[in-house]
């Protein structure tokens, strides 16, 4: 647990951080957010003593950080920054090995740890370990930066806008991977960002700061639903309901049990369309989504094979670990009232409907309900 007790940092007359007290529980992601100059980065850098507080205490698992040797303290706290700061003259593997080397690990252990970490952040060790930073794309460099921060398996991770310098598409993927990794590793993470959507997506707790002091420290849900000050309300924006969708995973409202048939069996298609479901999903021999059929079209006498809407699952489907905000955006873009949900590789898992998204947005407990699909005709499938 990290406790900041009345921490203050003063530069001359300016209060960079003013009497800040927060507690960060083990395994939580605490996001520090606020406008530029609000003191969020200063706060982060005081935790590993890159900046010394003017007054107040920072306790890490009950030990006052000021009593530890700064180098030793930092070797046990992972550190990842926006500009990555990879050493340009060292290979990817050598970069990741930095802290393990400082800690005096044996070479064999360092090598296997590097491979493990590269795999964890989604980079092929054989391909990447001997590359130099200049040979990496922005997203790859960020991944290596995160791998380097995790190298010695520190219980605490400090991240200063680690995804700030990459394009929106890559940032979205990196955030998704961060959540996946964090679910397994359960690090105590202090994360600085100025992006509200990023904060809401990643945080267990958000500390919203302004001019060096804390405006509110709460869960994203509380912050969105019960802003304590006008500043908090204005900062999270008018679209709080929409933002809340960013925190709900697709699989939490996904319906299963949809009518599904093999696309290469025409008889089965006819039979399935005779069932009471309006939409029938078509899959190939491996269960990969290839399209769907609207049975109402069939009623007008069109042969089943022609009535099928063929789709590419990469475009027309969402992933179970995606957010409902993403699913809603895709529904609006494609003009569908429901979307199929597929696993990696395109295997059909279920589907998610617009009405369920709406229920979640209204703050109902729709996503907690049982979604095994048995209501005939209620699942708007495709259609423009």
């Amino acid at each position: 647990m990290i406790s900041l007790e009345h921490v203050t940092k003063r530069y001359g007359d300016r209060m960079a951080v003013d009497d800040l007290s927060i507690e960060i529980d083990d395994g939580d992601v605490a996001v520090l957010i606020g406008p530029s100059g609000c003191g969020k980065t200063t706060t982060l850098r005081m935790i590993n003593r890159l900046i010394e507080p003017t007054s107040g205490r920072i306790l890490i698992d009950g030990t006052d950080a000021a009593t530890l040797k700064p180098e030793e303290l930092r070797q046990h706290i992972g550190y990842a920054i926006q500009s990555v700061g990879l050493f340009p003259h060292l290979t990817v593997a050598e970069n990741i090995a930095t802290v393990p080397k400082l800690l005096g690990w044996k070479t064999a252990r360092i090598v296997s740890r590097c491979e493990e970490l590269l795999a964890l952040v989604g980079l092929d060790p054989a391909q990447y370990s001997r590359k130099y930073p200049r040979q990496l794309s922005g997203g790859e460099a960020q991944r290596v930066g995160v791998a380097r921060a995790l190298a010695a398996d520190p219980p605490i991770l400090l991240m200063d806008e680690p995804f700030g310098a990459v394009d929106p598409l890559n940032r979205d993927r990196l955030q998704g991977e961060f959540l996946r990794i964090q679910r397994d590793l359960k690090k105590t993470v202090v994360f600085v960002t100025h992006d509200v959507d990023e904060a809401i997506r990643l945080a267990d707790k958000i500390a919203l700061m302004r001019d060096g002091h804390l405006e509110q420290y709460d869960s994203p849900e509380q912050l969105l639903d019960h802003p304590e000050t006008k500043f908090v309300h204005d900062f999270v924006g008018a679209d709080a309901a929409l933002k809340r969708l960013g925190r709900v995973r697709v699989d939490s409202v996904m319906r299963t049990g949809q009518a599904t048939v093999r696309a290469d069996q025409p008889d089965a298609i006819e039979a399935a369309c005779a069932s009471e479901s309006r939409f029938v999903y078509l899959v190939d021999a491996d269960g990969v989504l290839v399209g769907w059929i609207d049975s109402r079209v069939l009623d007008r006498g069109t042969p089943a094979a022609e009535a099928a809407t063929r789709v590419d699952w990469r475009q027309a489907a969402v992933r179970p670990d995606g957010s409902l905000k993403e699913a809603l955006a895709r529904m609006l873009a494609l003009g569908y009232r429901s979307l199929p949900v597929v696993a990696a590789g395109g295997r059909l898992l279920g589907h998610v409907t617009l009405s369920d998204v709406e229920k979640t947005m209204e703050g109902g407990d729709a996503h907690l309900a049982d979604h095994t699909d048995n209501e005939a005709g209620s699942i708007g499938g495709g259609g423009e």
């Binding site: 930092r74 550190y79 400082l102 130099y132």
Partner: protein, 256 residues
């Protein structure tokens, strides 16, 4: 792909190293052959006056090289730490003073330093070595400072944030990254030194300045050419040698 780049770099480095070693061997083969040097000078200037300097090049060249190496070694030994110091926390306040000082060292004519020190130390190589040391300090210090200041601050921040100490950051991160620019400064300093070291002859320290000074005072152009051409070729050899050294020392990643 990066393996191929490494291989190409290693090959270029081997070729360059072989080239410079060959060039040095050829240079000394010519310098050692007094008869060959004489026949070349006679071919150009005729025999109306003897164009060949009585002291053989094989004696003058090593004297010259010794003066260059001693003064350059001194320059580097003082310039590098000085440049490093003024980029550290403890020396940052002295940065401007030091750079003004080494600046002055370069604009102050070495021949004047020689004149002043001659009256104190008399004949011998010492006044020349001091003059050359002061003269060569500027490129070494400014190259070191420029190289260290060009290291991206976020790289140093990352190093510190991961728990590296100041010394480790200097040796593992900063110096390797600054090496290219630092070597460029050293290279400039040494090359200028090779030419300027001809002034050593003025205090009786010998070297390749001797035929030049004698040639000027006796109006024998043959002497001047013999000394000047040898000094020029020697400067090119030093330049090549340091360039090759840089290929071995500078980090591979700074190459394209």
């Amino acid at each position: 792909m990066e393996a191929a780049a490494t291989l190409a770099h290693a090959r270029r480095r081997m070729i360059a190293t072989t080239g410079i070693v060959l060039a040095v061997v050829i240079f000394f083969a010519i310098v050692a052959n007094q008869a060959l040097v004489a026949s070349m000078l006679i071919a150009v200037f005729g025999t109306a006056r003897d164009p060949v300097f009585p002291t053989p090049l094989l004696d003058l060249t090593p004297q010259h090289i010794a003066i260059v190496i001693v003064s350059s070694a001194l320059t580097i030994a003082v310039g590098l730490p000085l440049g490093i110091w003024v980029t550290r926390e403890s020396g940052r306040d002295f940065r401007d003073v030091v750079s003004a000082g080494v600046d002055f060292g370069q604009v102050f004519p070495p021949i004047a330093v020689l004149a002043v020190m001659f009256s104190a130390w008399g004949l011998g190589p010492a006044p020349a070595i001091l003059a050359l040391f002061l003269y060569g300090l500027f490129p070494v210090v400014s190259g070191t400072v420029a190289g260290l200041e060009a290291v991206p601050p976020e790289v140093i921040d990352a190093a510190r944030g991961m728990g590296m100490g100041n010394w480790r950051i200097l040796f593992v991160v900063e110096l390797p990254l600054a090496m290219g620019v630092m070597l460029a400064g050293i290279r400039t300093s040494v090359i200028v030194n090779v030419g300027t070291a001809t002034v050593a002859a003025a205090t009786g320290a010998g070297g390749l300045g001797l035929p030049i000074f004698t040639g000027i005072s006796t109006e024998n152009i043959g002497y001047v050419v013999e000394g000047a051409v040898t000094v020029s070729v020697l400067a090119l050899l030093f330049d090549g040698a340091i360039a090759v050294l840089a290929m071995w020392l500078a980090p591979e990643s700074s190459l394209d």
